[in-house]
Each structure stands twice: as C-alpha cells, then as structure tokens.
Point group: C2
Chain length 215, copies 2
C-alpha cells in the first residue's frame, strides 16, 4: 500500500463536447422523470461524469439547462422526421406509414413526451426562449401536405382538410397513449404498454385517421 499524503494527481481528460453531452443526457432523464421543479441540480451533477460547477459553466442556471434539454429533444424528432421518405408509397399507404411511425416514435421516446408535458405545464416559456421554434413545424407539415395533395389528386382523400388540423389529430391520438397512460390505465384497468396493447391501439389510431381523410 502506498500511503498517499497528498491527493493523487488525477488524470484530467478534457473533452468539452463530451462533458456537455453527458450533462444533457443525464439532465434529460432527470427533467423527464421529475419535471423542472422536481429535478435536482445536485442529483443531475452526481450522475454525470463531471461536477455541478460544469453545469453552471455551460448552461448558466437550471433554467438554461432545461432550455438546452428541450431544444435538443425537439431537434431529435425534427431530424428523424426529415429523413422519413414516403414518396415511393401511394397516398393511403404513405399516410398509414406516417401515422404508424408517429405512434411508434412517441411510444419509443417516452422521455421526449414527458418533456413536452413538463414544458406545457410551464406554458411553453422555455420553448419560447429558444430561437428556432418556427423551423420545427416545417418537415412534419410538409410531409403531410404532400401526402394529402397526392391523395386528393388520386381521388382517395376528400376535400377541405387542413394539414395542421390533421397533424393535430395525429399528434393528439399518439401523444395520449404515452402521456396519459398512468391515469387512464389505472382508472379503466386496462394495459396500455404491452406489445399487444400497443399494436391494437396503433391500428385504431391509423384507422381513425384514414376514416377521417378518405372519401
């Protein structure tokens, strides 16, 4: 045993990008799990590979950290949605696929959904503080608009539907299954998480949307 009288000269690996990302990863989990007020900066710091000091160094304060978490979470979907190509499918099949994808994505990314819930409890003030909110709507609506236009041209979709309304309906149906799982499944004593329950619900959501747009 070497008796160390002084502290060992720790090998410090400096990697700002990794440090930032590490903090954001942990903070995302904590905020999603406990909300903005419920999350503890000390707890986040403890779970990172770095210290609380670094959180304040990079993000200023707790709110700045939360804004960064929200921004990154939204950037995540935007990125994925943008890469979803449905051009090779007929309009009906494309819409089915888009709705199914939305349903699957939201169910697979519970923490994103929970962050959106938390942000809505805060009336969207943090999202407002973030610069590029407007860009968020572009890909989702553009995809939907294209599918709808093709469907109308082919005579399979009816007239007079607004794409944002349609997107809202899709979002509402997919979102609920994750966001209100806890209370709904408790009150109605119904499983909403098993693969079977998800598959069942997924079909109903797709069916609901298609019955709404079809002639």
């Amino acid at each position: 045993m070497t008796s160390t009288t002084a502290a060992l000269p720790r090998v410090l690996e400096r990697d700002p990008e990794a440090t930032r990302a590490n903090i954001l990863d942990i903070a995302t989990e904590e905020f999603a799990e406990k909300g903005f007020s419920g999350a503890r900066v000390d707890d986040i710091a403890a779970r990172t590979n770095t210290s609380k000091r670094m959180i304040y160094y990079y993000f200023g304060d707790k709110e700045g950290l939360f804004v960064a978490v929200i921004e990154r979470a939204y950037a995540g979907i935007r990125h994925i949605e943008a890469n979803l190509s449905l051009d090779h499918l007929g309009p009906e099949q494309a819409l089915r696929t888009l709705v199914g994808f939305t349903f699957d994505y939201q169910n697979a990314n519970e923490s994103f959904i929970r962050l959106v819930m938390v942000e809505n409890i805060h009336r969207g003030v943090h999202l407002a503080r973030s610069g590029n909110i407007a860009e968020l709507n572009v890909p989702a609506i553009a995809t939907l608009r294209d599918i709808y236009r093709r469907g109308r041209a082919a005579g399979v979709f009816r007239d007079g539907i607004d794409e944002i309304d349609l997107h809202m309906t899709i979002s509402a149906l997919c979102f609920f299954n994750v966001a209100n799982r806890a209370t709904f499944s408790r009150i109605f004593q119904r499983d909403m998480e098993s693969p079977q329950a998800l598959a069942r619900r997924r079909e109903i959501v797709i069916d609901t949307i298609l019955r709404y747009v079809k002639q």
Copy 2:
C-alpha cells in the same frame, strides 16, 4: 384613536368545512399552475384565509394535500357526467352531444386537465393512493356503451368497436387541445384558444369520432 396596548381579541369564526374547502380551492390553483414540486406550501397558506398549520392539521403533509386536491377534481367530473342525460336523443345526436360536452368541459376546466397532466408526470402514484378510483370509470363508459348499443341496433354504427377504445379516442382528442396548447400553438403559430378556434376544433373532433363509428 384607541391605543391598543394588547392585541385586539380577534373574532375567530370557526368553520372547519369552510377552512378545508378554502385550502383545497387555493391548493388546486397552485398545484395546477406550478405542479406538485413547483407549488409551495407557504404560498398556498399565504393565499388562504387560514394558516400553514391548518394545512398540516387537515391534510398531514404536502402529498396528502395533493391527493385531496386530485380526488376532489375527479369527483367533480364524475358528478357532472353522471347527470348528463342523453336518452331522449337518437344515437348519432347523442354521441355528437357527448363528444361536444367532453370537449367543452375540458376546455372550460383547464386546471383539472393540468392536474391530470401533473399526476401523469408522477405516474399516477397519488391517484393510486386514493381509494375509489374504480368508480371513476363507471358513468363515462356506461353512457357511451348505451349510445353505442342503440346506434348499432339502429344500424347507424358499425360493429366491433370497444367502448373503452372509443372513450380513449374521445379523451385524447379533447385533452390535447388543452394540455398541449402551449407548445403546439407556439410551434405551428396557430391560435387554439379563441372562441372561433375552439368552435372549429370542436367540429373536427366530433366529425372524427362520428366518421370512426358510423357504418
């Protein structure tokens, strides 16, 4: 001017029921506005006609207060839903009315919706602590089941729809308009609160449900 050397003998009106109700009213607002962790017992106490000590006297701790708030909020809808009589209407008109009522009620009771969101962030643990959750589902589903049965008998509704699935769809569509208003309206730069916007959305929700159930 009477120089009061001793404290004035305050006229104390003792009214336990009113005190309890007063605390619950204020606590409902605070929890709905700031969530469970964000709400402050001191702030709630300051806004009541009574003191912080009374909160602990009646509700034990902050969590006990929140459970009481949640229970009372759910009891509110249950009571109203139970008194909604739709028997005199034909099945299609009855369903239209039920969906419209749900939409209106949720939009008029934002704080209830927000409490449900908060409770879902907490994964429903407080609702679980409450005794009579099972009763909550009875009236809503019973009403829906009756309408659906009549509609099928009359040949206007199609076969094979589960009432709980249908209720979930109705809830999802109505809930979203209140719960996700902040983020959705910001991202898509669309008003979701004006009477016109509400009326428009209300029609879409009703239409969506009817297209889903009709032959």
